[in-house]
């Protein structure tokens, strides 16, 4: 082997090690959360409310709260996000408006989540008077998910071949009919992927709900959109930073982390699966 081959061999080995590091990271995190979380999981853990000062019982209110908040975020962000993407790809007159919107979407995606939290606090909790509530939290998470849904939907819409739009228009369909009956159905799997991914993101976010929705402990379940709510990510944070029984609380925090991780990873794997299946149909 000459020097050039040795360089190449060493270089490629280094690259393989970098890639392997990702697998090691993921494996380590999964290993600790699963192996320490599983013992905490039981039917009661998933379906009962916490008791004995958060040292026993279950996390059902937190699971339910996360579902409420995420659902609320989707209701806020999905119609707006898809409509924005449709405008950008289907109607967009080239010009400064489209550029301004595109730049704002890119920048929104980079805004730190804690800044969204402050925005929600100032605008929804205080300004609009919704208080610390499901409504404020959902709106805040929706704002956070909006740029994600827009860019995913845009990508899905761009991937729809131009020819089928032209075919539809040639048959006399109007622009709206073309969008509704041809373009959107074709882009649906892609949009769905984006929605699922942003749902996973919203479900795991903590900083935006710190001041807008979350409570450490609530007696009973929320009864309206103006109630405070328990949520899985905040529950984990609170268990680790508040309270007086660190050992019992850490155990519950491991269980809660496993539930949250399972929820989020199930969604991202579903999204990956849908996308890979979709890719196969396009290439077929």
């Amino acid at each position: 082997m000459n020097r050039r081959d040795i360089f190449q061999k060493t270089g490629f080995t280094l690259l393989a090690l970098c890639m392997a590091a990702n697998i090691v990271f993921l494996g380590t995190i999964l290993w600790f959360i699963v192996s320490r979380g599983l013992p905490a999981i039981s039917w009661e853990f998933l379906t009962a409310a916490p008791r004995d000062a958060m040292t026993a019982g279950g996390i059902a209110p937190a699971i339910l709260g996360t579902l409420y908040l995420t659902l609320g975020a989707v209701i806020v962000a999905l119609p707006l996000g898809v409509a924005c993407a449709v405008y950008l790809t289907e109607y967009s007159p080239k010009g400064w408006t489209v550029n301004a919107i595109r730049i704002s979407v890119n920048n929104l995606a980079g805004v730190p989540s804690v800044v969204f939290g402050l925005f929600g606090l100032a605008v929804f909790v205080k300004g609009a008077g919704f208080g610390v509530s499901i409504l404020s939290g959902s709106l805040t998470l929706g704002m956070l998910a909006l740029p994600l849904i827009i860019s995913a939907s845009q990508e899905a819409l761009i991937a729809v071949p131009q020819s089928i739009r032209e075919a539809s228009l040639a048959l006399g369909a109007s622009r709206w009919e073309t969008i509704r009956k041809v373009v959107l159905p074709a882009a649906l799997p892609g949009i769905l992927t984006g929605v699922i991914l942003s749902v996973g993101r919203a479900a795991g976010e903590t900083a935006p709900i710190l001041f807008t929705a979350a409570a450490f402990y609530l007696k009973g379940y929320p009864d309206s959109v103006f109630s405070e709510v328990m949520a899985l990510p905040y529950h984990i944070y609170a268990l680790m930073t508040e309270g007086t029984h660190p050992e019992a609380q850490t155990r519950i925090a491991y269980g809660s982390s496993l539930v949250l991780l399972a929820l989020v990873l199930a969604m991202s794997m579903l999204a990956i699966y849908i996308r890979q299946r979709q890719r196969r149909t396009y290439h077929a």
């Binding site: 050039r4 190449q8 270089g11 490629f12 690259l15 393989a16 090690l17 970098c18 890639m19 590091a21 990702n22 697998i23 990271f25 993921l26 995190i29 600790f32 409509a83 924005c84 449709v86 289907e90 919107i101 730049i103 979407v105 920048n107 929104l108 995606a109 980079g110 805004v111 730190p112 804690v114 800044v115 969204f116 939290g117 402050l118 925005f119 606090l121 100032a122 605008v123 109007s174 709206w176 991914l197 996973g200 479900a203 795991g204 976010e205 903590t206 900083a207 710190l210 990510p233 984990i236 944070y237 680790m240 850490t250 925090a253 491991y254 949250l260 989020v264 990873l265 794997m269 990956i272």
Partner: protein, 294 residues
């Protein structure tokens, strides 16, 4: 085709499209409105450069230099980890992995990217911090280094996936020309592909950095929380995001502390805004350079 119904529907979509613009404008307006009152009781220079952050003392002191330094330290440590690992993974995926490997490895990176930050924070607190404490003989494992390492792990998939996209834009002909001149695969990679994808890779690094600076829960749980200018990587620190998240709950709305925290958020927003704008600009010019303007 221009019936009133069609025009009305177009109007609806236009309105929805402007929502993102309105939201960004709203964020900027709210941040400025809630942050600017801070300068009625502390000068901009004393705010940014002051070394004492005692917001609840009597009289309170609002110098955020320790928080800025903390953010810079943990982000710097994160970069040391996420740049080589992220770019290396992207090169591996692009150059060496066959379709079968890619089908497994790309999802690994995506799944790693979708792990919520609270889980990273929790993992850092319960596994990483005790490990660091043991390994370096520290009094407490919650410090700038621990937080930086975890942030680096979190930012790696971000860097990897954006850098991989950038590598995909390099035209095939570049590679073929290099092979034709007798270069082997490694030489082609280092001397042709990486330089050609250079600005795309820098976009990836900037966005990874932006992600690390804005990350909240991890640093809140793992960085240690002391608002002191760090002297070593083993010192506990309180980055800007952690200060906001930890203190906003107890700050009275409309009080000095509240406005000071909004001012930190504004500073944070401006920094990430500049990073994102730079990334956008670089990647646009990059696509132009390779003739891929879109």
């Amino acid at each position: 085709m221009n019936t009133p119904k069609e025009r009305f529907i177009k109007l609806l979509f236009t309105a929805a499209a402007f929502s993102s613009l309105a939201l960004l404008a709203g964020i900027i307006i709210v941040l400025f409105r809630e942050a600017l009152p801070v300068f009625s009781f502390v000068s901009p220079l004393a705010f940014l450069g002051g070394e004492s952050w005692y917001p609840t003392a009597e009289p309170p002191e609002f110098g955020i230099w320790p928080l800025i330094a903390a953010s810079a330290w943990v982000t710097g440590i994160a970069l040391v980890i996420c740049v080589p690992l992220g770019v290396g993974s992207a090169l591996y995926l692009h150059e060496l992995a066959g379709p079968r490997q890619r089908a497994v490895l790309k999802p690994v990176i995506e799944v790693l990217a979708s792990v919520p930050s609270i889980i990273y924070g929790f993992f850092g607190m319960t596994v990483m911090a005790p490990f660091m404490q043991e390994a370096f003989g520290l009094p407490i494992g919650l410090c700038a280094l621990t937080a930086g390492v975890i942030l680096g792990v979190m930012a790696t998939p971000t860097v990897a996936s954006i850098a991989e996209d950038a590598l995909g834009y390099v035209p095939r002909s570049f590679r073929e020309a290099s092979f034709a001149l007798g270069a082997n695969r490694w030489e082609t990679l280092v001397k042709v592909i990486i330089p050609a994808a250079g600005s795309g890779i820098s976009t990836a690094i900037i966005l990874g950095m932006s992600r690390a600076i804005g990350e909240t829960m991890t640093v809140l749980m793992v960085a240690g929380g002391a608002a002191v200018v760090p002297a070593s990587v083993f010192d506990p620190v309180r980055p800007m995001t952690a200060a906001i998240a930890a203190e906003m709950g107890e700050a009275a709305v409309g009080g000095e502390h509240y406005h000071a925290l909004f001012a930190i958020a504004l500073a944070l927003f401006l920094v990430t805004f500049v990073f994102n704008a730079a990334a956008e600009l670089i990647s646009r010019r990059y696509r132009l350079k390779l003739g891929l303007a879109r």
